[in-house]
Point group: C2
Chain length 342, copies 2
């Protein structure tokens, strides 16, 4: 490995000058600078980031801790964070928590390796997360804790839109399939569904917790868990909704003619834009959640954050950074049929 010193010697200058020529060009005479940069290029110099980090105290890395690398929901978030980092010259150290709540230990183990940590949809107890926030630059994604920098997608507001969409289509009995209960956000979503239903004079049935897999949706489509009155279902995961769609059809229930299905998230691979007589329709009616943007924002906030907990603003505690979702109408929802197929 060619070191700074090698280039400095070749250029007939000191390490200090060579270093400056590369990191603070304006402090070096044009001729010298050029000679050094050319030589650095020719000799294939790669400044040792470890040595630099030791001196500067900054590694240029960000820890991204996810509950799972196999859950495709997190892929776009990671991709967004990574892209933001790449643009800023940093890089991502990604770790998956083996078991729920494990994320704190994981983050701790990465402490010295990174400048800041992003916890994505962590399932650890509030106080442990807060304790972590005291000791490092921390950003939390998809969960809200007062006093901690949070970036969240406003899916509670989004499911409100979904419910409005369904009640406008005449549905009065709505089923909601919810996720594992660690997420405070899912609680908010359920509350939002209920509020939305109430104003339209509709009622809600909730089934939870359900893992976000196609197979589970398939089963629900076949072993209908709701009352026969339910004519529209909102699932918190696209995979569930897709499974539901297939399961219902396997059982001979037409979607959306007999049952409408909608999903809270939106996975690219499942998007299913289908041209039908010129118009483009999504396979599933769903909420477009700005996952990539979520990751980008989290990375940006983390890079710019100070260490320690976020202090209160002039008018009270600083709230989370919130991103809005958008309703994507698709072919899986339609007007309520008078003869529900439950």
């Amino acid at each position: 490995m060619v070191r700074l010193e090698d280039v400095a010697r070749a250029a007939g200058v000191s390490k200090a000058t060579a270093s400056r020529a590369l990191s603070r060009p304006d402090l070096v005479a044009a001729g010298t600078r050029e000679r050094i940069t050319r030589l650095a290029e020719e000799m294939g110099l790669r400044l040792n980031p470890t040595a630099r980090a030791l001196y500067t105290g900054r590694t240029g890395a960000l820890a991204l801790v996810v509950p799972s690398l196999t859950n495709p929901y997190f892929g776009p978030i990671l991709a967004g964070a990574q892209r933001e980092l790449a643009e800023r010259g940093g890089h991502a150290l990604i770790a998956a928590a083996e078991s729920a709540g494990d994320e704190i230990d994981l983050a701790q183990s990465l402490f010295g390796h990174v400048d800041a940590t992003v916890l994505i949809a962590p399932r650890a107890p509030d106080d442990r997360i807060r304790a972590l926030a005291e000791r490092t630059r921390l950003v939390v994604v998809d969960r809200y804790l007062e006093g901690v920098r949070c970036v969240i997608a406003d899916t509670p507001e989004g499911v409100g839109q979904l419910v409005a969409h369904l009640t406008a289509l005449g549905h009065r009995h709505i089923g909601y399939v919810g996720g594992p209960g660690e997420s405070s956000l899912d609680g908010q979503r359920i509350a939002s569904v209920q509020r939305g239903a109430e104003v339209a004079g509709a009622v809600v049935e909730v089934v939870a917790p359900v893992p976000p897999e196609l197979d589970t949706g398939l089963r629900l489509g076949i072993d209908w868990p709701f009352s026969p009155d339910v004519s529209a279902v909102v699932a918190y995961s696209s995979y569930l909704a897709l499974g539901l769609l297939i399961g219902l059809r396997e059982r001979g229930v037409a979607v959306p003619e007999q049952i409408s299905v909608a999903a809270v998230d939106h996975l690219a691979a499942v998007e299913g834009q289908l041209g039908v007589d010129g118009a483009s329709h999504a396979l599933l009616t769903c909420l477009r959640v700005p996952l990539e943007q979520l990751g980008r924002t989290a990375a940006a906030v983390a890079e710019e954050a100070e260490a320690g907990p976020v202090e209160a603003g002039p008018v009270g505690p600083v709230g989370p950074t919130t991103l809005l979702t958008a309703l994507v109408p698709g072919r899986s929802t339609g007007p309520r049929n008078r003869h529900p197929g439950g």
Copy 2:
């Protein structure tokens, strides 16, 4: 941040002794050692990994370069690699190549940060990958290059099994949906399909390249790209196969009664084990690719590899590490019908 020196002073010993007490306990007197470890614990000492890395020349990190973080195929591979690393006390630096072929530059930019690099399904030209292998510890996953350490899943052999399964069911016209052509493996898969078909007196039609998305499968199900004789289709991606399944059914074509569908990979979220009168059947007939194991193996090989290209063994070049796939029969394939539905 509490440093080694702080603990050493508190314990009344030199940094050297403190260091030894932590990393080579057997070299230190029991009493001293205990005092130091207790103090280190109490004071919350976290050895600075950067300083350690600077001296030892090893960062303890492995670069994992993937073509995409949103493609769920790579999630399990990353998870496997990460788990293996975690068990070895290392960690993963994950980067996604923005554009095809970009992976070399990415890997270069991570050079000093990691001890070795794993390129997952890289799309860069052979010679660039080889050049990289000359200069760093490199492992390539899901692609074979002579002279470079490779870990691959034997999907060519696997599709042979799929084709045998289909010809045994009476299918004589088989469609294959292939991926973007950068992958030499897909070429081998196509060859394997053709070989398998030939021995059974069947013919193959290939459609490629096709992106691995549900939507694409949906379109293919509706705008049938094969001749009407084709009664069974093998898709290189579960998403495609799933889309095909839905698309065909939307068009009123029964699966598997009229058309059989199978997939080369196997995504957990899409697995769809469904109990039918006690028996468990997968939704899709597919190949179980040991993705997680692929990642684990790659990480293990990378950790143990020497720098530079792999040298020839006693009887010729060292081949790739190969993992076998397994056929998972599901409900999407069945006996050929006399009245194909194309």
